[in-house]
């Protein structure tokens, strides 16, 4: 009995489905976790769908052949190997997996709010593959997310671009391999409230925010120069090592791309001036509620803008906003995306994109670009994802109706060709990990660990900690 028990347990932990099944009459079903027993097939033929390629038009009655996790062929009546698994998608729509350019899911920490400059910290170090929000996003067609440090500090930490490979347990396996590094900057009320009001240190004002950023980049310039001087033999010793200045030097060299939390037109122009002074070209502004006022300036700088469809007025600096923002930015030639910044909103970014048809008359394809190829470009991963093209990663979302249709229902989501969400097979409890000591609430409506409410995933999380009792609408 003891032997059997231990054998069964080993199988449960290690075995693929077939082996568990082979364990006749064994206790195998007992604690198989939902994803460990799941196949990881990455070869498919998705047949007879309306294929929204985003970059090469729409193919009615099209097929997508997936091989080894990549898109092997797209078109009408694609030839496929005889033994490939076929999904009959007739009547359904296939679009590239949604790319969310700004969210705070799948990480253990959001803000290191103790210092105005924390360039050395990296949310990529604290990825949490057990966050059920990753699955919920999959259920809305999201396959890639830019998970960001929060907006408590003028220069926050580094972000991570991840794929929603929900089911893996090694945090490293969430990483979008080869995606460029990015770092969070933040302007305006959040950093001044956290540091100025909260701790009585600089910055207390928008002027102070600019100064903190300039001073940090100045130091990084000096640090890089000292290192170079040492390497050239002009200096006897290297400067004292600094993780923080190393990261900031990477900002100056372009190895870390700036993604800056911002709302007001004046501060947006301010940061472009600062970055211009330091020769930093790559910047995407996040939120950018007043971006419509400075769209030509953004376009001229080559800056990206990642916005909400219609979310504002949650604090003073976001009163001057419009639902036409995305359309105005896009029509002025600004590389524009729509993001969620929320573990709830990310489930229906296709709705958010659709709003630009109501407010701004964008075409269907223009609207879809806002949540696919455009954010992919902003994150430097457009060669891999963001459209349905041969050779790209097979990150695909299948919808019952056109994804911009309000009645559409996501059917399946593939990441690297692996089916990670299936509307027809959506278990009752998709958590990968259950805390054996946590009480189960009377209903799941409440927010508990493992069933995190959206509050957990927002920008200012961790910035005030216990001070949060007093805060009202601190999000964003």
């Amino acid at each position: 009995m003891r032997f059997l028990t231990s054998l069964a347990l080993l199988l449960l932990v290690l075995a693929p489905a077939e082996r568990v099944a082979a364990q006749e009459d064994g206790p195998s079903q007992g604690i198989v976790d939902l994803y460990e027993a799941r196949e990881e097939r990455d070869d498919w033929l998705i047949q007879d769908a309306t294929v929204l390629t985003v970059t090469n038009g729409t193919i009615e009655d099209g097929d997508v052949l997936v091989q080894d996790g990549n898109i092997a062929a797209v078109g009408e009546d694609v030839d496929a190997p005889g033994d490939v698994e076929v999904y009959d998608a007739s009547g359904e729509y296939v679009m590239p997996g949604v790319v969310d350019a700004h969210v705070h899911i799948g990480i253990s920490n959001v803000n290191e709010a103790t210092n105005p400059v924390t360039a050395e910290v990296d949310v990529g170090d604290v990825l949490d593959p057990f966050d059920v929000a990753l699955y919920r996003a999959l259920a809305g067609g999201v396959t890639t997310s830019h998970v960001m440090h929060g907006s408590a500090n003028p220069i926050g930490g580094q972000n991570e671009t991840i794929k929603h490979r929900y089911g893996v347990t090694d945090p490293g396996e969430l990483r979008f391999e080869g995606a460029p590094g990015t770092i969070k900057f933040a302007l305006g009320e959040n950093p001044t409230r956290v540091h100025g009001t909260g701790q009585d240190i600089q910055p207390s004002t928008r002027m102070g925010v600019e100064h903190v950023i300039r001073r940090a980049l100045n130091r990084a310039e000096r640090y890089a120069a000292q290192k170079e001087a040492f390497q050239n033999g002009e200096r006897a010793a290297p400067p004292e090592y600094s993780e923080r200045l190393e990261a900031l030097a990477d900002v100056l060299s372009g190895d870390l791309q700036v993604h800056c939390h911002s709302y007001r037109a004046d501060e947006i122009v301010m940061l472009m001036d600062v970055l211009d002074d330091f020769g930093v070209d790559d910047v995407t502004f996040q939120h950018v509620n007043e971006g419509f006022k400075v769209a030509p300036e953004l376009a001229e700088y080559g800056a990206g803008a990642s916005v909400f469809a219609d979310w504002w007025a949650y604090k003073f600096e976001v009163y001057y906003s419009t639902a036409f923002n995305a359309a105005i930015l896009a029509r002025n030639g600004v590389l524009t995306s729509i993001n969620s910044d929320s573990g709830e909103l990310d489930r229906h970014l296709y709705h958010e994109a659709a709003k630009t048809q109501k407010y701004g008359d964008l075409s269907k394809n223009q609207a879809l670009k806002l949540i696919t190829i455009n954010p992919a470009k902003q994150l430097g991963i457009a060669d891999r994802v963001g459209s349905i093209e041969e050779g790209k990663d097979a990150d695909l979302a299948i919808f019952s109706k056109h994804p911009l249709n309000i009645y559409t229902v996501p059917q399946r989501t593939y990441v690297d060709g692996v089916k990670r969400f299936d509307h027809a097979d959506d278990p009752s409890d998709v958590r990968l990990f259950v805390d054996p000591e946590a009480p189960v609430p009377a209903t799941r409506a409440g927010h508990t660990a493992g069933h995190a409410g959206t509050e957990e995933h927002r920008c200012m999380h961790g910035a005030f900690r216990m001070g949060a009792f007093a805060r009202k609408a601190l999000q964003q």
Binding site: R38, V121, H457
Partner: protein
Amino acid sequence: MLSRLPSCFRLPALLVLLALGGALLARPTQAQVQRPDETPNPDDVPRATGAYAIEDARVVVAPGDTLEGATVVVRDGLIEAVGRDVDAPYDAAAVEEATGVEEDDSLVVHAGFISGLSHAGIPQSGSSEEEPDVKRPGAPPPEVAGLQADRSARALLDPEENTLEDLRAAGFTAAHTVPRSGMLPGQGAVIQLAGDSPSGMVLRESASVFAQFEGAGRVYPATDMAVIATVRQLLREAARRQALGERYEEAPQDLPRPRYDDLHAALSPVLAGDKPMFFFTDGALGLHRATRLHEELGFPLAMAGLQQSFAATETLTEIQSEGDAETADVPLFLSLALPEEPDDAPDATPDTARADSVRPGAVSGAVADTTQPDSVGVGQDTTKAVSPQAPGSPFIRDYRTRSYEDTDGERENLLARRGLFAERYYANAATLEDAGLQFGFSTKEADAGDIHANLRKMIEYGLSEEDALAALTTDAARLLGLSRRLGTVEEGKIANLVVTDGALFEEDTAIRHVFVDGEPFEYSAEPAGGSEGEAPPAEGVNPAGTWEIEISAPGGTQTGTLTLEGAPGNLSGTIVTRGEEQTLEDVELSGSDLSFEFDGGQVGILSVTATIEGDTMEGLVTVPGYGGVALEGTRISGPE
């Protein structure tokens, strides 16, 4: 506190408490723990002999190697002889079979257990000190930031500290002990779990640099990501200083004089590969994070805790097999704590409410049933086969709640899954054993009184008794590099022994004698693990009353009032902060550790753990997704 002892306090409970180390009891009452040669004042009279003999015993020399009817002779701290033909020397004090042992049962001698990670001998730091006023939270002094790698466990050792006695009573004789609190609390030492002086207890003074993912609360590093960045910063700067120092030794001219500081200097042996960075981490995430740092920075790694290592066996196998077994082995020490089932656990009667709530055609278009490999136990008590004590009814993978009024069924389903998940923790040791991983045990999180019950549970869930004993003795000794001195009952080794009155892992077996460095400690016939289940509240600890609490927030300290009512085991209460009152959930007292949760509004459910000492409490508020912030409390009134 003694005056608050319940009047119904009776002897059996007293014995349990003693096994748990009822430290608050006055020493004269400890009749059950005494040395055979005890004199009214032992300092006045020299001991007659340092020799002891255990005769006609079953001797478990090493796991799987047993001698029947053998004699073990201990002299002056060492094992002098072991064997069937050995005669007890004339001057050896005979270790008696204590009363209550059946005539035909002999004593069983094992090597003393070794804990891979513990705070034994390290007192809790005093709570009276005011928190230092840090001007710049982003750059606090190292001791506030938790950067104290230059501290040594030896320097903090107190031979009178309670855990030493508790662990001894559970059969532990040596431990790798580490300082407390912060991300780099100090250097670990391997110590004997008894001794007259700190230096007399030390087997290896500086065995490790201890590390944990513990932020500094309201100052940098507050989060795990900043802790990780700080490890990188310190090791890379230490490497720079080391290189500079070496150049300076050779040719100081024209070189800036290297700055010396204790913190970076303490990390040099880690850089050089002479000493491991020894991480405590319970979760699967921390395990991966420590592993990543180890791979990135190349330092020798050891890990303890590892309660969720069943989810990371692949990673552990990789790091244990990298390089040659002698040097690059990553020592692993599994926590002897197991999760405790919360109060809301369902009773064992299967429910009927859920039977018809499976969505038809949920799995691959077919009705879900147990023959589907990926459907989890639908409609059949599959849990029974896994566990002799499966809690509750089976988990239904495709359970659907049909109405907002019908949440009970859903709740039961979630409870069932939680119960199944708890079993993975119980089977964790077996999982590692089956994966071929080598491990010892850590007592850091474990209540000493629960250890034997937990070991039995691990065995019940598939760990072999031989491997369990190896993890307690030989493997632990090897992983700590002490195999030549500890781990087996062999001639010439240090006389650390555990003597039981029966097979070690039987429930009714008791530990009768423990030898540390040849010094005997005698115990009563109470079973080794004490009774199963939760630790009773430490004697006299009653958290009831009104407490003024202070929570360290970044913008300043937040104060509040905590009101606790009821008796231990049935506590309830409220917390008021900033004029908002919240009801406490899941108020529990285990030993002197209080825990509860409450709704923190926008930040989510806050969980609090605190240790009560008299009228003060000290602990941690855990904020979801953020981490812990310090909490302190003072009782201002009650209990009645």
